[in-house]
């Protein structure tokens, strides 16, 4: 077991308890999809396990080290983050930095990597996501899909053990979703451990091997993704999957078909 999260609880003042004891275990190479309706606490859970939010209670075991998620020390947070990368819904690329600098910045100023090495790592990560031809572009000159691919490269470059994705395609125009999912799919194929909060059912079904289904801050079902989609154990899960199916969520996004490449007006960075 690479990462084990036990009984995470979190309340926000007015919203009451947002996480009511969520647990999850992740093996190396797992792709865990966290599913559930809006407001079910999926994103809060992901933010808690990277300490962007401080949980009220909970335990984390990461590579054999045990941490109390409420009282964890700054130094331990840094140690955990060193092994993880986080991909945000709205990318959060550094707006004042070029694509290359976005990926290098954390390597140089976070990990203390020499510039030359950092550049090498950044270039190879950007190549990996197909963004090596836009090194000198600024985020505002890129499409959402391109920004998200750079954000993935930024996480990838530090060679994390696990990558967290927080609804990585939710802010994207429909025609840009495919390019991001394809990158994620290829990472999964390479054995990258991933936890993905998503609404992309087809992606969850075809890429993830584990599903955590949440509603109202509770885990309704944890299952292999095969069982979850074909043989859901709980009534609530069945209802959820049916509601998605009737909305056409699964059928309308067949990822097996080739995704159209976005035709974007390229903005000259020397403008």
């Amino acid at each position: 077991m690479m990462l084990e999260i036990k009984d995470v609880r979190k309340s926000f003042g007015k919203d009451g308890e947002v996480l009511k004891g969520v647990s999850l275990s992740v093996d190396k190479g797992d792709v865990v999809a966290i599913l559930g309706p809006s407001g079910s606490g999926k994103t809060t859970f992901l933010r808690c396990i990277n300490f962007l939010e401080r949980a009220d209670s909970g335990q984390m075991v990461f590579d054999g080290n045990v941490y109390d998620m409420h009282s964890i020390k700054k130094r331990d947070i840094a140690a955990v983050r060193r092994k993880t990368a986080f991909v945000f819904q709205n990318y959060n690329l550094f707006l004042n930095k070029t694509v290359l600098k976005n990926v290098m910045l954390g390597l140089v100023h976070g990990l203390g990597m020499p510039r030359a090495l950092a550049k090498e790592a950044a270039l190879s990560a950007l190549e990996r996501v197909g963004m090596a031809d836009k090194l000198n572009a600024y985020p505002s000159q890129l499409s959402g899909g391109q920004q998200q691919r750079v954000a993935i490269a930024r996480g990838l470059a530090a060679k994390p053990e696990i990558i967290y994705f927080d609804e990585p395609t939710s802010a994207l125009d429909p025609e840009l979703i495919g390019e991001v999912l394809n990158v994620m799919r290829s990472l999964a194929d390479d054995g990258m451990t991933m936890i993905v909060v998503t609404h992309e059912m087809e992606f969850a079904r075809s890429v993830s091997n584990k599903v955590l289904f949440m509603d109202k801050g509770e885990v309704i079902e944890t299952a292999s993704s095969e069982d979850f989609f074909n043989n859901p154990a709980r009534e609530r899960t069945r209802a959820f999957i049916n509601s998605i199916l009737t909305k056409g969520g699964v059928e309308k996004k067949p990822l097996s078909e080739p995704q159209p490449q976005p035709q974007l007006g390229f903005i000259d960075s020397t403008r």
Binding site: L95, N96, G110
Partner: protein
Amino acid sequence: MTARQLAIVKDALPFLLKAFVNVTLPLTALSFLLALLISVLVAMIQYAKVPVLKDLCRVYIWIIRGTPLMVQLYLVFYGLPDVGIVLDPFPTGVLVFGLNEGAYMAEAMRGALESVPSGQLEAGYCVNMSYTSTMWHVILPQALRTVFPSFANSLISMVKGTSIVSAITVVDMFKEALDIIGRHYEVLPLYIEVALIYLVFCSLLTLLQRLGEKLLGAYGGAR
């Protein structure tokens, strides 16, 4: 304009320019530098919510913004000697103008810092950067870009604002003009002359502001 007026205006020009270059300019430049330092520091202390210090910053801004500049100038120059603090006129000017404009600029800077999306800091954390490092490489540069027009505004305003410094015996360009008027009793032409010199210089600064914005806008500007 009569020939006499023209001659006075012409003779006055070198004296006015000399006072402008020797006094008004350095006074403005030093005061602005001080204000710049104060404002960035005060804004960052509040942004980082440093206990105690952030409250002191609020008090500073409250007092400065709540009292007239002229009163502050008099208080420091004519008032403080009563408690044994005697400062020369020029340093007094730098100190008071710097402290005064610094309070206004600090508020603009705080606004600029707060306008940087919170995700930028989180992204820094997630790539293993510290608060300080993210602040330095990401948040501060973006905030400075946002605040640039406002700071340019302050600078331009200060160039002219320093003209009240004659009240504490500093002979700046305006005081020089007053003295010349006192000798020749030619009021209107000399005031217009002084006004034009200020106008020309401030126009130059406006051009520089535009140039600066263009340079800083290389990453597509603040969004």
